[in-house]
Structures are given as C-alpha cells and as structure tokens.
Amino acid sequence: MKARLLSLLTLTLTLAVVLTAWSQSAAQSTGTAAQRDEIPDDAQLAHASGGVIYRHICQACHMADAEGAVGAGHIPALAADARLASAQYMAAIVVNGRGDMPAFGPRPDYTGLQAMNHVTLSDAQIAAVINFVRSHFGNHYRDRITPAEVKAVQLRTASNADDEDLSLMAGK
C-alpha cells in the first residue's frame, strides 16, 4: 500500500513536470498559450491559479465553457449559476463531493484502487478554483473565499465524520 501511494505521488509529481514541458512545447508550436495554461510543477501547483486548476481538473467534466453536458444524465453547468452565490456551498460540494461527483477534500477511508482514483486538492487550490469559477463564465460574484474558510468547511465535515455523517458528505 505504501508503495502504491509512493508511486502515486511520484506519478502526480512527474505528470506535472511532463505536462509543463508538453504544454510549453505545444504553446510554442501553435502559439496558443492563452488557450491552455501551463501545468505547474509540484511546488508551483500549490500556488497554481484557479484558472489552471479549472482547466486541468474541473474541465474534465464541467467542460471548457463550464456549460456542463447532457447525456443519460447531466453534468451541471457552472456558467451563470445562481447557486454559486454562496461560496461556502460550493466549497462544501468540492470538499465533500455530491452524487457522482467525487470529493476533492481528503478521504482517508479510500484504500487500494479507490485511493489511486481519489484526487485531493489543498485548501488553497480549492479556494483558488472557487474564486475563479465565481468570477468567470458569466458569474460576477465579488466576494472571495479564503483557504482558511475552506479548511473550516473541511473541519466541520471531519469533526462529524463518523458514519452518521457519511451520508451527508455524499448526500444529494
């Protein structure tokens, strides 16, 4: 297990390096640096802008224009979204997940393949990406959430995280 986790850390770290190199070369060759931020390396990742995090993580489901998508079910749009009026609400969902959307806060209960599949963002990263989404894609919220406030959401969840609360963590 330890080996698996170690290997994951290496994987993530290396990925960041590789993608940096790749996006740089892609940007150079196409001259469209603005379309795709460079992925920072591990040290920089902690201070990555919300835009970088959105484009490399959230965009996978919510799409480049934050319009979501519709198939058998739907991926919620975040563009011009009245529900984002509360940054706290958004933080709770990013930290804890909701329905099929995975949690991006710490989930020590995941082991094995689940641990491998779980992506943990730091408080600072979550705050940055929330602030980015709430000020882009037709959202014009002026207030900002801080990493400390994200942490508070996290702690609130963790302090009740006996199994009573797991349904809440994952609930609709």
Partner: protein, 520 residues
C-alpha cells in the same frame, strides 16, 4: 440450506467453493422457480447485469422488457472497431479508423479464471475466449528519472528485487540476526528456500552468473554449437535498484493479486462480443435509445417514463409488476424515483471514478518484431500509466493496436480535460519515451475518457469500507417492487462478474417476492 437463506448467486458461489459447480453452467442452479402466471419484470439498462437478468427471467417464464439508453447492447462491455463513431459529452466525435479485426476495449478487457459466472455465460452464448496476458516478463518498467529514462525489462527488476531481499535475509539468518523462534532445522530450510526463490549462489549471494541469469535473463542467451556459450547478465546494483522506484510496480502487487493471476481470458474480437451475443439472444426484448426520466412504483407495479431518443421530447411509458434497475448510480441519482430514504441515500452516496483509455494503431507490430514483447503491459510513471500490447494475432503482418494509455485518478482527469486529438497526441508523445518507434509507426488513435461517456459519466462506483458499511445493504435490498443491480451493487467494483452476480442475486430475491405475492 444455503440456497434458501441466500440468493441464487450466493448459492452458486458456495457451491463453487465446495467444488460442486466448478466448470458447470450456473444457470441450471438458479432457484428462480417458474414465474407466477402473468408475472412481468421491467429491466432498466442492457449492460451485463440487465441482460443477465433478462435472460434468466425470460427462461423462468416472466414477461420481460428492457429499456436501454444506447443504440447497442452491452453498456460498458464495449469494443470500438474500424468504422465506429463515438460522440462524447461536450460533443467531440471521433471516428475509429482501425483496420479490420483490430479494436479498443474502452471498458473491461480481461476475465479472471475465477469469474465463473461470466465465463459460463460466454460458453453458453458461444463467445470464443483466448488467453489474456497480464504479466509479460519481457515488457518494461519505466520511470522518467531512473536509469536515465531508459526502460528496464520487468524480469530484471523482478529478479533483482527478489535476489536482493533474499540475499539480505539469508545474511540475517546466517548471522543469527533474526529474533524469530526458528530451530536450527528451520533456519536450514529457510536458507535453502531463499537460495531457490532468490536465485542465490552457493554462498547465498545474488551475483552475476548463470544462476541469476536463469531468472533475469542473459546478456547473450544460451545457444548451440561453438557459438552457443551464454554470457550472464549483470544484476542492477542494490542502491540503484532501490532508488529507481521501479520495484513499486512489483511492490504494489498489482500484477500478483488474485484478480490478475494466470489464467485470464479475453473474447476473440473484443470484449464487446459478450454484450453483442447477449443482445442477439434477447432480440426483440430490448428497446434501444430509451432515456429513462422517471421511475414510479405503486401498490401493483412499476412504471418507467422514458424519452425515445429517435423522437426527442416524447415521453413514453413502460410498466411491469417488478423492476430491476441497473442504471449506473451516477445517472440514477438524478432520476426521480419513489423509493425510501435508505435506498435513495445509498444511490447518492457513491461517486464515480475517472479513467481514460487510448487505443493507438501502428503501421507494424514493432513491439513484437523489434522487442520480442508478445502481449502484457509496460508500466510508466507518466500520465499514460501503462501500455498494453495485443494478446492475439501474434506475428501477423500489417497493423496492430496497442492500448496506449490506461490511467486513473488525477492523470485521467488531466487527459479527460483535453480534446480527444490532444489526448491521442499526448499518448504518442509519452509512449515514444519508451518505444522510440512510436512517431515513425503511428497511424491513428481513439481516446475514451469515462467522465465524458454519455451513458455513465464515470468509470465505476467508488466505494470505501466506511460508505459500504453504511449504505451497501440498503442499496441492494428490494424497495417495494424495485431492486438494483450492476457492478455498483457488488463487492467486485468495476468487474463484469460483479454486475452478473448482483443481477443473479437480485432476481432471485425478486422472484421470491413474486411467488410470495402470487401465493398470498
């Protein structure tokens, strides 16, 4: 007794464990009985769970109908072949341009020998199977940092790691440094075993020589005549081996887990052959391109409201006495359905995992021709995570398709966030660091990112022990007239056998209810 107390699948599993049912057809053992007169079941989803249920319930005499979102049977049991078009969420459409006979399995791609129910259905449905190669000792382990980025053969890392550990342990035994309560005789036996399993020499050292080369391979293989003298290879120095981190693939035991132990199988022509065979067997029962929008049960039956995707905006209804719903939880949690709170909370409690698979067609099978790699998988610390080589048509001329990426977690999200063409380019760029032939030989590719697959929006249901403890039984228990099935309702997350056994278990319980109601 077991048959009465538990579901049919449980009984079959118990019988397998006792050695009675091995290699026999499962279905004969399923205690569904004969359907009560006029009893009907509505099945939502024509994946392996739904089609297993339809197959068995029809055999037992139930009136069965199946609604399916896609225009094909199988669900995640799926192969993309030349000429197929695939449109992902967000609208990007890819056309598969593989040569005839070549394919990508975007979802499941291997069947362990102990997934006996799935194997039994393959036999029954006439799906031909061939060996799937999990471990290839001649494939590579690769890290961008270690060994200057040069890939190492799996057999070398595996042998050297075991050799190193065996040598150190033998040293400890010889120095009486183990505080285990071993008799003199135990120690002798342990030393002998370490020499055997670690490829140590007579002095318990793991060193260059024929003994270690018999495991890790030679610098020059033994041959015949005067030129046939072998040259042993040089084991990797201990510090370099440990620092490389390449043992992590061995240490993760991924390849050696029960699920991945030899023998594994794959259907000839692609995993999708199973879904296609089920679909033919159930001809006429499945209504395709039906998007379920609401599920409602009352005292006498269950109604599913659905949109006919041929005629967008239309709402049609299907009704039966009972409903087996195999819609993935990622979609089901968005569909209004009047079940009790325990099941509703369970449905909303399971997030779906990301995963990406990328198929790359090359102009020739250079991995075989240049590198003697026949099937199996190379692992790397790059985002693509792995490269798997086709386990069929060895030595054939012409083109071949490699699984150029199968990756999870954050790297999967990163790749998903790209356009399909970008993903393919990235897989080629990363793979070229392992196989320099890539750029020259690359022909075309196709990328499936599961978070953007329209019928599921994720790869499989991610359970933790804590979430399972709270919600799993509630997910599986029948609520009124509705039962759920699928890999998400199994302890075999993401495996087809989980989908099938969950369906067998659920319909056994549903049939019991149907009988109880008919007898009342």
């Amino acid at each position: 007794m077991i048959g009465l107390a538990a579901g049919g699948a449980a009984m079959y599993q118990a019988m397998s464990a006792l050695g009675f049912a091995q290699g026999t057809q499962v279905n004969g053992e399923l205690p569904l009985g004969e359907a009560p007169r006029g009893a009907s079941v509505l099945i939502l989803g024509a994946g392996l769970a739904g089609m297993t249920a339809a197959y068995e319930l029809r055999r037992a005499g139930y009136a069965v109908q199946v609604l399916e979102y896609n225009d094909r049977p199988g669900g995640r049991n799926w192969s993309l072949r030349g000429g197929d078009r695939y449109t992902e969420l967000g609208g990007a459409t890819q056309e598969c341009r593989f040569d005839p006979g070549l394919y990508l399995n975007p979802g499941p791609w291997r069947i362990p020998y102990h997934h006996s129910n799935l194997l039994a259905y393959c036999k029954r449905l006439g799906v031909r199977l061939e060996p799937f190669i999990q471990i290839n000792y001649n494939s590579y382990l690769h890290s961008l940092e270690a060994f200057g980025g040069r890939p190492q053969r799996y057999r070398c890392i595996d042998a050297d790691y075991r050799g190193l550990v065996s040598e150190l342990l033998a040293k400890a035994v010889n120095q009486q440094a183990l505080d285990a309560p071993l008799s003199h005789e135990d120690r002798e036996k342990l030393l002998e075993s370490l020499r055997d399993t670690g490829a140590l020499d007579a002095a318990y050292r793991y060193v260059q020589g024929n003994v270690s080369s018999d495991v890790r391979g030679y610098a020059k293989d033994p041959g015949g005549g005067l030129s046939g003298k072998p040259v042993p290879s040089q084991p990797i120095e201990a510090h370099q081996l440990l620092e490389s981190g390449l043992w992590q693939t061995l240490g993760s035991a991924y390849d050696q887990q029960y699920l991945f132990q030899t023998t594994l199988f794959q259907p000839v022509g692609g995993m999708g052959r199973i879904g296609e065979a089920f679909g033919r067997a159930l001809e006429g029962l499945i209504r395709y391109q039906a998007r379920v929008t609401r599920i409602h049960q009352d005292a006498r039956g269950v109604t599913a409201y659905y949109e006919d995707l041929h005629r967008p905006g239309t709402t049609l209804q299907a009704r039966a006495d009972w409903c087996l719903c195999t819609i993935p939880l990622s979609v089901l949690h968005q569909i209004p359905m009047n079940v009790g709170r325990p099941m509703a909370e369970a449905i909303a409690a399971v997030p779906y995992a990301p995963a990406v698979k990328i198929g790359l067609q090359f102009k020739r099978r250079f991995w075989e021709q240049d590198e003697a790699i026949y099937g199996g998988t190379t692992y790397t610390d790059q985002a693509i995570f792995s490269i798997s080589y086709p386990c069929c048509d060895y030595f054939s001329d012409g083109k071949g398709v490699v699984l150029g990426a199968y990756t999870f977690g954050e790297p999967a999200l990163e790749l998903t966030a790209m356009s399909p063409a970008q993903r393919v380019r990235e897989a080629v760029r990363q793979g070229a660091l392992i196989h320099p032939q890539y750029p020259e030989e690359f022909d075309n590719g196709i990328a499936v990112a599961w978070n953007r697959v329209p019928f599921i929006m994720g790869c499989y249901g991610m359970w933790s022990d804590a979430v399972r403890k709270r919600h799993y039984d509630n997910l599986c228990r029948i609520d009124g007239r509705i039962a759920l099935a699928g890999e998400h309702a199994s302890y075999l997350s993401a495996w087809q056998e989980g989908a099938i056994t969950s369906a067998l278990d659920a319909i056994t319980r549903l049939a019991r209810r149907a009988h109880a109601e008919a007898d009342a």
